[in-house]
Symmetry: C2
Subunit: 644 residues, 2 copies
């Protein structure tokens, strides 16, 4: 009997759709990012990240470069490398990673401290500006990298260094009067310490994570006190700043009292992920309840249909309920990745299909849409409506880029995509007690370590283009246990067959649970209907009034100027559109595109800016392509929400 | 024979609609602003403007307060006082104005210079930062005030001071090598010098205006050179700044080469006004052509239906063609007033009804909508769509206020409204050769000085609630001349009668011109149809796709939450709405409101953020009120553009 729900780490992806992403990350993204981290990508903003570590290690002379949290890019790259090596050993890549780890360990101080900014630029000012300087954030990423690399290779060098650093941090922060009663301005270490605890079994790390979570938001407010100690001087400008905005980093209230997702979206979801981890490990129902409230706040009131979160670029933040503008949107890639982290942990806490629905939504739309098909260009902001001229000429929309960029000065997103995709296998299943839950339908081979013995699962899936899923179940011997299949929120009807025989099923929190004695080689067929859906938003979402979006399976669709006459805003779908599906060889991966009749009122023969309403329109063919593929042709307008 | 077209200055307004605005300005706004200028309005940001002059005059000790261009608020107030005294003598107000003028003149330097900022705060640094510091802008406003006050009272004290200042400025700026080949960062003096020339006949002022206009945008760029001389230090922050954005203040190109309205909207229209002045005075067809191009750029591609201009709060600026977002709008009050200045001068240049149409549109909507019915609260930004929660919680919309504010730290708008309304009479007619053009239909008495002698015109008008206009013509004796009546762009059909007899008419550039021998007491009846119109925007205006606005006569209408269930975005008009009109005693001034059947799809029984499109709706009553009256009830949502 498995006591705790587990995420299946040993999953090998073999999937028509996803294998090429995994391949892209392994063959292109990881090597490309290695070049970027070494400032060798022509035309891209330099990273300085490896160079900083070399300087801090005494291997090179020079000044610190990049942002104060530049170290985290190296860590996220190493984490991705770790995941990639787990499934695809690569001695050359491992050698490169070992070299980087050598440098990092050389840059570690006697007491365990690792941070190139404070080592090079502000020695002696450690822990004086937790609000802005991301020290514990960088530490957290290093821990995540260490755990991933250790699990992949068995090598302890970075893990030991991370533990030494964590041990040192534990001497600095805590409830004792001689320690700092503080926490980081950018949450991350909280979830990383949980991973470190799971990898090492050392409860100290779990206690420290719990401390950071529960101390946050308590009065007197740490960030106010710290700001006063600094004489009100901030990091970003060397001049007095106003009192810190505690909502921005979710330290305005004790986390257990928080009801609404506010502030910087990435900070928020990283913190909620750690809260869910602790709620599960500690059986802490109060914390679990806070997680559920914050989950609802995001997914019922503040999430784009693409799984994007963060409505405003001011502070890369949530704004308020139902404020989901499509054009001035933020929807940062990292925030959707953090939402996936949160969703995954909620699934471990309690398998309910709504968590997996959101996980899938963010994954298939916002996250993979952020990366170009060549793996070398990224969106940081993932808009639902683009007018390239507005991005150029209206300053309020300048943050929305109509084409993916080669790299960013603040390059948090590309390595985050890499580490997510290279660890995608572990999001497919969870297991709890005697039940294996299948959340995602991705061709793969997995082993679920049930108490009755290991169960191998082979999955074949034709998603996202088709709804046929087949699982072959291979327990070591005949065994009674359960397999629970998620019925996706987008699926109107699903047919289940076991060993070729149709089977009725009841839903339990959105899962079709089949408990029986399974024999090696038993098969489950799960046929999901994938009718194109016309989706509307809650009427409180002002931005989508009178509009609809097209979704089929997990994929949200969009219109692009490449297929239509601009402006796209002139196009309206008929009352009851008849959708036609076809594979389009003109787009990367030959995706299913959805076509329909429509009307355009872009009657351009009257130049007047304002004129009597004419209600004239002409028929047009509407062609919707998967959102994740937008921006791979001639740059132009794009929209997800269509007048309807 | 009148050689030059003239604006009729001697017009007395007697109008059901407008007299109360004039009254409001005289009885409330001017006294209230006097209190504000003296920092005596509780709860409002202090102005410091009078105090600065007292300090500069040596009457008080203290520091400069307010913005670098604070002087202009005093000047605009004095200008409004001048106009008000012209039509309504008021010895007490005149005494107050004389006292202020005494202080201003005391603050004038030996050489003629007047500017409290540089007198108090940065003596010795005159003319070192024309880009940012508004010196010539303040000078211009002082000149406008001096002319208005002189014309109202015959008193020359301020006029003489203004001339001394202008004479001094003429020794500083000009083509001669020992002078500055520069101009101001905020255009204003150009049009003021034309007024000073007209009041004094001194051609030096006209030459100087011409110099500022024609020097602007020439290479080498003055603002770049000046910025280099300042070591790249700006005014707003004492640190090096990037190269000045020349488009912001329209100095990127020689004005004659400019095709598109760009940059800060107020700066732009003040400059275009001076260009039109000079084009007329100099018979300069090249400059006139530039004015026409810039006029088209604004009114055919960058103007809101309310006559608001400036689509973005970043730089209070134009953005680009057809970019007219309703929610992140700027549409500053001053910019619409400047557009009225420009339109008026274009009418002097060539009477075409399109200029008057825009003038009227800006006046009846953006401008009077900016002021509360009590004259004490103002909008600086005039949105076409308001969601109060978004104004509070979405930083990209924080500049949009859902309620009028008592005063502004940068209080350019309220005194600008005061000077416009108190001089409104001069916008009603122009005269050219032997034709009197009636542009606005406002009850009034005017005298047109034709070459054949003075012609008195009495106008009665029931606008904006009804379309009946009656003119009584009183030449000194029987005379042949012409009266041209504007057929407004919003009017489908107009009936003309002279002395009770129906008369056919042909249109000449939008005017029904009646040339005949007029006898004293002849009457013209001009019956304008005022059917409510459903207006659509050009399809390139993405923000208004699928939407329509309601207009009746010059008034644009809007919906308010006070009359509807929020969100207003849920409301749609039927395909062919049947409009019902009624006077509403529940709103200030008992306006005509427009009602229609409509539908709302705010079906709130499904809490899901995204769900299959249901196309469910319920019938609702739609009630539209004049835009200028929005925000006079319980604060809530407002929108001009309605789904249709």
């Amino acid at each position: 009997m498995i006591q705790n729900p587990i995420s299946l780490q040993e999953v090998r992806i073999a999937d028509e759709f996803w294998s090429k992403y995994e391949e892209l990350v392994r063959g292109t993204v990881i090597p490309y990012q290695w070049e970027a981290l070494n400032d060798r990508v022509p035309g891209a903003e330099p990273s300085y990240a490896i160079r900083n570590f070399r300087i801090a290690a005494g291997l090179e002379e020079g000044e610190f470069g990049g942002l104060v949290f530049q170290d985290s890019d190296v860590a996220k790259w190493l984490e991705a490398v770790g995941y990639s090596l787990s499934s695809h050993p690569d001695p050359e890549l491992e050698r490169l990673a070992d070299e980087v780890i050598d440098i990092i360990v050389k840059a570690q101080h006697e007491d365990g401290y690792i941070n190139t900014y404070f080592t090079i630029k502000e020695p002696g000012r450690r822990w004086t500006n937790l609000l802005d300087c991301h020290e514990l954030y960088c530490a957290g990423h290093l821990m995540e990298a260490a755990v991933a690399y250790y699990q992949a290779t068995g090598k302890r060098k970075l893990l030991d260094a991370a533990c030494r650093y964590a041990d040192y941090i534990d001497t600095v922060f805590g409830p004792e009067p001689d320690k700092l009663q503080g926490y980081d301005g950018h949450q991350e270490i909280e979830l990383a310490l949980v991973k470190l605890y799971k990898a090492t079994g050392n409860e100290k790390y779990l206690r420290l994570s719990r401390y950071f979570i529960d101390q946050r938001g308590r009065k007197p407010h740490f960030f106010i006190q710290e700001w006063e100690r600094r004489g009100h001087i901030g990091y970003w400008r060397q001049e007095p700043t106003g009192e810190p905005d505690l909502k921005y980093n979710q330290s305005h209230l004790p986390v257990r009292e928080q009801d609404a997702a506010v502030g910087h979206a990435v900070r928020a979801v990283y913190m909620y992920s750690a809260m869910a981890d602790l709620a599960l490990l500690d059986g802490d129902e109060e914390l679990a309840e806070a997680c559920r409230r914050l989950w609802s706040s995001i997914t019922e009131k503040q999430m784009y249909i693409t799984g994007g979160i963060g409505s405003t670029h001011h502070g890369e933040a949530f704004s308020f309920d139902y404020d989901l503008p499509n054009d001035t949107v933020y929807a940062e890639t990292c925030a959707s990745i953090g939402l996936i982290f949160f969703a995954h942990r909620m699934l471990l806490l309690e398998p309910r299909s709504e968590y997996a629905d959101v996980l899938e939504r963010a994954l298939y739309n916002n996250v993979i849409g952020s990366m170009s098909q060549d793996g070398k260009h990224y969106f940081y902001v993932n808009p639902l409506e683009v007018w390239p001229e507005a991005s150029r000429h209206n300053p309020g929309r300048r943050h929305v880029k109509p084409v993916r960029q080669p790299w960013f000065g603040c390059s948090c997103c590309p390595p985050n995509v890499a580490r997510l995709i290279s660890s995608l296998g572990r999001y497919i299943y969870t297991a709890k007690d005697d039940t294996i839950y299948a959340h995602l339908y991705i061709g793969s081979e997995a082993t679920a370590p049930l108490s009755c013995g290991d169960v191998r699962l082979e999955q074949q899936s034709s998603l996202p283009w088709d709804g046929a899923v087949k699982l072959t179940v291979r327990p070591e011997r005949e065994q009674r246990f359960a397999i629970a299949l998620r019925l996706p929120g987008w699926c109107g009807e699903a047919r289940l067959a076991v060993n070729g025989q149709a089977v009725d099923y009841a839903l339990e929190h959105g899962y079709a649970r089949i408990e029986r004695v399974w024999s090696p080689g038993d098969t489950i067929e799960w046929e999901l209907s994938m009718e194109p859906l016309l989706i509307q938003a809650h009427p409180y979402v002002r931005a989508n009034a009178g509009k609809a979006a097209i979704q089929r399976g997990p994929l949200v669709y969009c219109l692009e100027e490449a297929d239509h006459e601009a402006p796209l805003s002139s196009i309206a779908l008929p009352g009851k559109p008849v959708f036609r599906l076809r594979r389009d060889p003109g787009l990367p991966g030959h995706p299913v595109v959805i076509e329909s009749e429509g009307n355009s009122d872009a009657v351009a023969d009257d130049p007047r800016l304002y004129r009597p309403s004419m209600k004239r329109s002409k028929p047009v063919r509407v062609k919707a392509i998967p959102y994740f593929l937008w921006g791979n042709r001639t740059p132009g307008e794009m929209c997800v929400w269509i007048r309807s």
